[in-house]
Symmetry: C2
Subunit: 202 residues, 2 copies
DNA sequence: CGTCTATTTGAATGTACTCAAAAGCGGTGG
DNA sequence: CCACCGCTTTTGAGTACATTCAAATAGACG
């Protein structure tokens, strides 16, 4: 059971750096993580509090969001099994957090804290490399998202979202997808209706 | 002359990883870069063509932009002396470019190509570390920008821009700043008028 | 100067928003 | 098992911010 889930972490290495870890490398890395379970709607990181952890999701799901001065939530990231999630701002800078992290379902995670992260990266060129590539990929994806946000209307952004993340569609509440897309739930509802009509009429 | 400008690169290391390079480290790194000059409005990378270079700006300025299906430009990044700029998508993935890179002024750069980049990172844990931290910082800044884009109106985004990048204001044409903010030049003009009135009336 | 590009201003329009309420869905307890 | 409650999604009507279209003004460069 544990083995099957943690296979996800090995796969994450394979997918990120293009090759598997040796047993020794994996053991070393795994030693620095600890496993935790969270109920649905657990808060993993809060605004104004330093967040010293990154989470690798083994099962369940979570998301991070930004709250502006008017008190509106704006989803930054979704994460399901096999994804890393954290308040990267607080984690990397050491300053008080600006995002909230919350589980959507009962969730099992592997937790890495900053001290261990730094130690692993200092000790091992391989893991420094791994985290560099992980960041590069995250950066490229985020840049693409911003490009779309600034250049496409809400309908196209929604269609792009369904294309990129089909497995998210029936797992994440619609009002959170709306927030991720930068629109209100009412607007997403109208867009979905419009899109559905287009498809049936073809 | 050359020395003074390249001091910027040493400072970039200091600023990024928190300490200076030794002479030997610097020489090794510098060997892998070559210097180039570009006229104003030179294209450093184009859409659909693979871009295998990152540019460190010694003097002058450049910007990258995304062109959507309607043919509208959307500025992704500005860069002046001391900044790195590239089509990160193409550079990191090896796929055809999705951004255009163009100089705004006559510009002197140090160029690093992907092969050298990979070699440097493989050879040296220090430089792998440097590029990891560089990516982290870029990621965090981009995430913050996206959070603002999705949660603030155009006026607040403009004020935030002037706060974060005051040195850009009188150096970059207003229509490009508008594009960076995700609005039309006409809208930015109206916003500036409104902001100016508020300030004088206080 | 004259030309080309950038910025400003005006008027009409549109996409997504707000406010409001109904309908749908899922879980819980009687 | 059904009734109820809370939460999510849908629908409707009016609104607002930024857009489009259009043109005038200002600025930069040869």
């Amino acid at each position: 059971m544990e083995g099957v889930e943690e296979e996800l972490l090995r796969q994450n290495f394979l997918h990120t750096i293009g090759h598997s870890l040796t047993e020794e490398e994996y053991r070393y890395f795994r030693q620095n993580l600890f496993r935790r379970s969270f109920d649905k709607k657990s808060i993993l990181a809060e605004v104004s509090r330093e967040s010293r952890y990154v989470y690798f999701i083994l099962s369940g799901s979570a998301y991070s969001y930004y709250v502006n001065k008017s008190g509106d939530k704006h989803v930054m990231q979704f994460a399901i099994e096999g994804y890393w999630i954290s308040d990267q701002y607080s984690y990397f800078t050491g300053r008080p957090g600006i995002y909230t992290l919350e589980t959507l379902e009962p969730t099992e995670v592997l937790v890495l804290n900053r001290e261990s992260h730094d130690k692993i990266c200092q000790t091992s060129h391989l893991f420094e490399h791994f985290f560099r590539i992980l960041m590069q990929n995250a950066f490229v994806a985020l840049q693409y998202r911003l490009a779309k946000t600034n250049s496409e209307d809400a309908e196209h952004r929604y269609l792009e979202f369904t294309r990129l993340y089909p497995h998210f569609i029936n797992r994440i509440p619609q009002y959170l997808i709306a927030s991720y897309l930068g629109i209100k739930p009412q607007s997403l509802s109208r867009i979905r209706k419009k899109v559905a009509n287009k498809q049936t009429s073809v």
